[in-house]
Amino acid sequence: MTKPNDLVQGTLDLLILRTISLGPMHGWMIAKRIQQVSREVLQVQQGSLYPALHRLEQQGWISAKWAESETGRQAKFYALTPEGRKKLEQETANWSRLSAAINLVIEKA
């Protein structure tokens, strides 16, 4: 199986970081939230979500903690670290710049 290409991976990272910037969530909730907020357009596959979450955790942008979920079971909650918050700002800025550029090309070219 091939690895997801960089653009998609980077975008997913941004989405995850943004989603949990509002507060700690577990993986299921993150996927559901992204799905909801994007009005069902973006459906994150578990096959890409969990590798992304673990990678972000390894790199230190998010931290994880096992806690009791709303159903009473133990679940792994992810939260944003200070470095992660900075990274989020960076990535958001990058994304704006990138999408603005793409828009320009589509309209003008």
Binding site: M1, H26, G27, W28, A31, Q45, Q46, G47, S48, Y50, P51, A52, H54, R55, Q58, Q59, G60, W66, S69, T71, R73, Q74, A75, K76, E83
Partner: protein, 905 residues
Amino acid sequence: MRVLKQAGMYLRMLLHRGREAQRLDAEMQFHLDQQIAENLAAGMAPEEARRAARLSFGNPVVVREHVREAWLWAGAERLWQDVRFAARQIRRAPGFALVSILTLALGIGANTAIFSLTHALLLESLPIPNPGRLVRLAMDFHDADRPSSNNGALSLPMIQMLQSQSHSFSGIFGWSVYDFVLKDEGVSHGRRGAMVTGNAFQTLGIHPVVGRLLTPADDQPGGGPDGWAAVISYRLWVEQYHADPSIIGRHITVTDHGVTIIGVAPPGFEGVIVAEHPDLYLPVEFSAAISNNEKQLHRGWGGWLTAFARLKPDASRAMAQAEIRTLFPSIKTAMVPPSVLHLPAVERLTLDVDPARSGWSTLRLQYTKPLLLLQILVGVVLLICCANLSGLFLARASARQQEFAIRGALGAGRVRLIRQLLVESLMLALPGALAGIGFAWLVGPWMLRGLGSSQAEAALSVRPDFAVLVITAAVACVCALFFGMAPAWMASRTDIESALRNSHPCTSAGSAVARRIFIPLQLALSLMLIVVAALLGATVVHLRTDDTGFHTKNVAFYIADFGRLPQKGANLVALYRRILQQMEEQPGVDSASTVAVLPYHGWIAKSPFTAATDPKLSITRPSDINVISAGYFTTVGTQLLSGRDLRNDDSDLRSCIVNQRAAKMYFPHAAALGKILHEVDHNIASSKTSIRDCQVVGVVQNTKYDTVRESPPSIIYFPMSAQSYRLPNMYFAIHGRSIAEAEAAYHKVIHEMAPASPETDPVTFQQLMNDSIAQEQLLSALSGFFAVLALLLSSIGIYGLVAWDVSRRTTEIGVRMAMGATRPRVFLMILRQTTFLLAVGLAAGGAAAFFAARSVSSFLYEIHAENPAVFLVAAGVLVIVGLIAATLPARQAISIDPVNALRSE
């Protein structure tokens, strides 16, 4: 900061891998359950909810794999898996592992031993700050006949003059090795030491462990503020004085003079002359006290100090050399007496600035080329080892084809397979390297002792040190890569389908071809080693049996230390004669005499002569000279050809004896007997030239003088007289029925007749001879050992190949025999492959050996590098060994029972 956190997390997760895996499962299970709950809430039936959830989740194993891959330690985990798998494989085939490790141990061990020698002698930098800035100033006479004479030493005034005139150096110092007698609290020991100029330690830049080091203030006539000051070595401080700090200020006696110990040199400091291990350092002015001759110390001409200097930070060696080149002519004029100044040798004299970051050593002069040759030879042995191992590994890899095929089918990439096999190779290489280091550790000193050179043995420590260990580890890794690569490559190219389909593990054509290349390669290299070893061995045999003009058995030399006896001049000569007479009367003594210059001792005395019949008195030719008593030729076994020996009385003082070569040189057209020779004597002190006459009364056969390899020079022998060269320190030469009897005679007579003089240790003629050919012996012994090793390895390689071939073709052999092939025919068929390989190996090896022999021709003596006998014998040995190695497994082939063979399919 982030990196630290990451590293911490990495380590933590590495240690709790199992727990992390469990947690991942729990996390995914939670996700799945949430999805199921959601589906149920949406109204699906429980079964459908579960199914839908699982479908949307995807393959959990794959997800898990992806997550694991995201984990940072995936690489380390894979490596650990490889290591464990390799360990299992090794445990399953312990014989194979043992053979591999042993082979590697031999190859790497031999390399390590030789490299530690090379490192200790040639490469190791001095333990001083900035050793790269140290240079040696050496005088070069450009004398092609005797390149190592004088060792380029300078005199003290010369060094002082250089110091005052040159600007390239921050300090120039002189260093001379000397054997002292150290007496402390009544106990005397001979200790090797060095006399150094006052600024030596400052220029070197080392610091004492306790006390202080010598300074120019200590290097004054009569000693410095502490009288005669001495620095002792760290080793002596620990061994003799048990590292007692109160040793500073201790009064000891060195060569009958009172000396104060002022400091201890740092550990690991062994002076600048490599492999001398001095224990005692004294200022050069002390030499005037020892020889009782202050004037001699300040003589401009007569080098005895090896000069070293430290370059100034902004000067380069080239700049310094240029400066010295302009300064030296005026220094020469100031130092050299006018009578000698215009001799061609002195005109040619230059002062060279040589790099000295690893100090300097006469041993180095002797052993550089041999050590380099040995390093190459041992490298070839390692190459053969690797080829052997590669063959072995290929065989094993070809047997594991099915395993590789399955792993490939399960998704292992080529890189993964190659890495796995390389890890296996490494896991055998590292223990092999360790075993090799242990082997070198044990064998090293034994190897040195076998050298026969007492000097080298005392000087060099062959224990591997840190740099050597690092190099060894690197070599091991390179080896592993080298011999592991071929099978790894082959394994990664397995055709999965065909391998899985075949029930009987067969081999790919690739591995067979590779093995067939390795065997001739090994054979060629072995032939090369055998030829070189044979040539070097023949050299040693020739050196030993060459007619040197001496009989060396049972002859011992003792140096006389009569400097402090009351007898001087003619009285001393008479004393010598009386002693000799007494010695000859002792039981077991055949002949006793004295001689000034020992054969093979490295000391050369030369003087210019001309025949009295020669009208052109100005043209003189130099000859080696020696001063002897009557009976010397009998003692050492030199034949008298015409005339008579010298007489032991004063009437003979104007006589001399010449050897054949001298006779021909000075009197080419007539017999030398009865003719007069003029010795043109340049008296350095008075700068006057005087001519001394002597009459030739006898002619002896040619003998060697300085080395065994030289062609016999012309030698002129003078009788002992009051003005003789080195009269108080002549050597007694005693030829007895055994060395013990000679020794007994010496001690008895000296005790009786010169009790005031210290008794000295003997050096036997045999030992002198051994020392002078030590280098050749080392080469011959070691190259022989390597040749045997190479033969052994090659034969193991052949054995392995044939055995593997037989096992591979068991079925085929069974069929052939069932169909009527006789046993001899099968035998020949198996051997056919080997003979073909032998032929190829011999052909390639012959060419390689030819070039190898040419390149070692400079080491040979009286044997031609292209001697065909040597090549034929070497080829013969190789063929015999190869055939024997092949015969053993081939015999197994013919004892195969065809029924069993066919059944095993």
